[in-house]
């Protein structure tokens, strides 16, 4: 057959019947629908939560935002001095302690485990245990804090103090930091390390100049996300003695003296006010407002994590 000649129309008809779409792919359609429903349920749940909280709490925030932030724990919800400053202060202090302690120790451990430690049964055992620790319920970390920091170490930590809470939360968060940093470091391609060694870099130089910059987005994202977890946990705070009543004394926002004093945190305040809502309905809106503040802080941290990750990924080219 010469090129350019029209093909046999019977062939065309046969091919058409073979490759043209059939109307029914019912199973595929149902599957897709189920997936969409799953997504919808997730989104609806989140939406309901948000709408509920914002509806209750927005009036409080919109009318007296500044006072709310700076106010303190009060027994009456109508009290104009009611606010979350003590909880906010406590939570921010805890965040600071976690950042200063858990991040360097966690990232350092991850670097050691991934780059320096020999791959043998001992290191596998250690890694397995770190994974287990990440899954331990947070209340158990609270017990650790209570048994170790609040009791025997009271002279150093001040007993039921922000310092104890910060140390406890650092322990809670440490395994997560190690795991996420390890995964980020493991994801660095070996070709990059080889390139570094190839021009005569020492192991430390390869880690510092090639591995860490490449892993930075992943490490940062992981650590910031773990920080939002630390801010939201209530159980360990309860055990380590976050105050459920009024606090005495007014310290400045970042007065280090506060480290060893009685303290409270945002999750605890929320918890209290929800309970107080039984006897004084005004606390319901107050608790909703506090929840909004906590959500906002967490959202801020997560956004910072995403922005930083994007920045480093772009720099990485």
């Amino acid at each position: 057959m010469a090129l350019g000649q029209v093909l046999d129309p019977r062939t065309a008809a046969r091919v058409e019947s073979e490759i043209f779409k059939r109307n029914s792919d019912i199973r595929g359609g149902i599957f897709r629908l189920l997936l969409q429903i799953a997504l919808l349920v997730t989104l609806l749940t989140l939406a309901v939560l948000l709408v509920d909280v914002v509806r209750d709490g927005w009036p409080v925030l919109s009318t007296r935002f500044g006072d709310f932030i700076n106010g303190t724990l009060r027994s009456q919800s109508k009290d104009p001095l009611l606010g979350i400053s003590q909880g906010l202060k406590g939570s921010l202090w805890i965040a600071l302690i976690v950042a200063v302690l858990a991040f360097p120790i966690g990232i350092g451990s991850a670097i050691y485990l991934e780059e320096y430690a020999p791959k043998n049964r001992l290191t596998s055992f250690i890694e397995l245990n770190i994974r287990n620790l990440a899954g331990v319920p947070s209340v158990v970390y609270g017990l650790l804090g209570l048994g170790l920091l609040v009791g025997p170490a009271a002279r150093f930590t001040g007993g039921r103090s922000v310092l104890s809470a910060g140390l406890t939360m650092s322990c809670l968060v440490l395994p997560i930091v190690i795991i996420t940093a390890s995964e980020a470091i493991r994801a660095v391609p070996d070709a990059l390390r080889e390139a570094g060694y190839g021009v005569g870099a020492t192991k430390w130089e390869v880690v510092r100049d090639n591995v860490l910059p490449y892993a930075a987005p992943g490490v940062l994202t992981g650590t910031l996300l773990s920080l939002s977890r630390a801010l939201g946990e209530a159980a360990p705070l309860i055990l380590v003695g976050a105050v459920q009543g009024r606090l005495g004394g007014q310290q400045g926002w970042f007065d280090p003296v506060a480290l060893r004093e009685k303290f409270t945190g945002l999750p605890i305040i929320i918890f209290n006010w929800v309970q107080d809502g039984g006897r004084d309905p005004g606390f319901v809106s107050a608790s909703a407002a506090a929840i909004i503040v906590l959500l906002a802080v967490v959202l801020l941290l997560n956004s910072a994590a995403i922005l930083l990750r994007n920045y480093f990924e772009n720099k990485r080219g």
Binding site: A195, Y197, G200, D209, R316, G317
Partner: protein, 289 residues
Amino acid sequence: MTTVEATNTGALTETQAYVEATNRLSDADVVFDVDELSVYYGDYRAVRDVEFDIYKKNITAIIGPSGCGKSTVLRCFNRMNDLVPDARIEGRIGYHDVDLYDDRVDPVEVRRRIGMVFQKPNPFPKSIYDNVAYGPKIAGLAKGRGALDDIVEESLTKAALWEEVKDRLKTSAMGMSGGQQQRLCIARAVAVSPEVLLMDEPCSALDPIATARIEELMQELKSEYTIVIVTHNMQQAARVSDLTAFFTAEVDDVTDQRTGLLVEYDRTQSIFSAPNDERTENYVTGRFG
């Protein structure tokens, strides 16, 4: 002796080639002296009983079918196999007659003198300038900002890349084409003023034009550096190298393991036109491999 005209450019008659080659070799220093080298990964013997010498300012090609230990042997020359946990060698590699695997030898110093270009271009995810400057910087080779700029320009020029990138030194290396990235890797390798350049199939990820440019480059670099190149491409070995080592693999009857070994090592002209071993002849004439 009949005179045979080679068919590629720069053709020499057989007699002329023989005379040139022997003259060059007799003047040449031995840079690496490989003595009964075997390389093991754990219990697996990847390569056995390799015995050959690498001569100064010559291009030595290592050819052979897949899996016969070519890259393994190459990576022994700059201690890159140290990075593989189970790897060990038996035998001796002398670098200017110093045992390369002596306990007192610092692999970092070795790698500054024996550079490497890898199969897939692997520039650092940094700017072009920083890629080239990194090696000299950490080796302390540049005193003062001006000196580093000079090294970068010199290295990029040697890699035939300067004209193309001189106006965008601060842009990311990742934005370059594959051929340019590989030339950047060559520039990076020469920036630390090594004596030897090891090239592990440097062109296998590149298109023919980029390949031709790099082969051209190798001829220029030969005047300053000793080059050892592993290549799958026989024609490339024939075009580019002065000496060729042909490896093959044996399969052990009992364990089914493949172990590489050196079959023949000679001047490139001889390997390709009059090999001594039948296996070499079969490979270079395309009967297998």
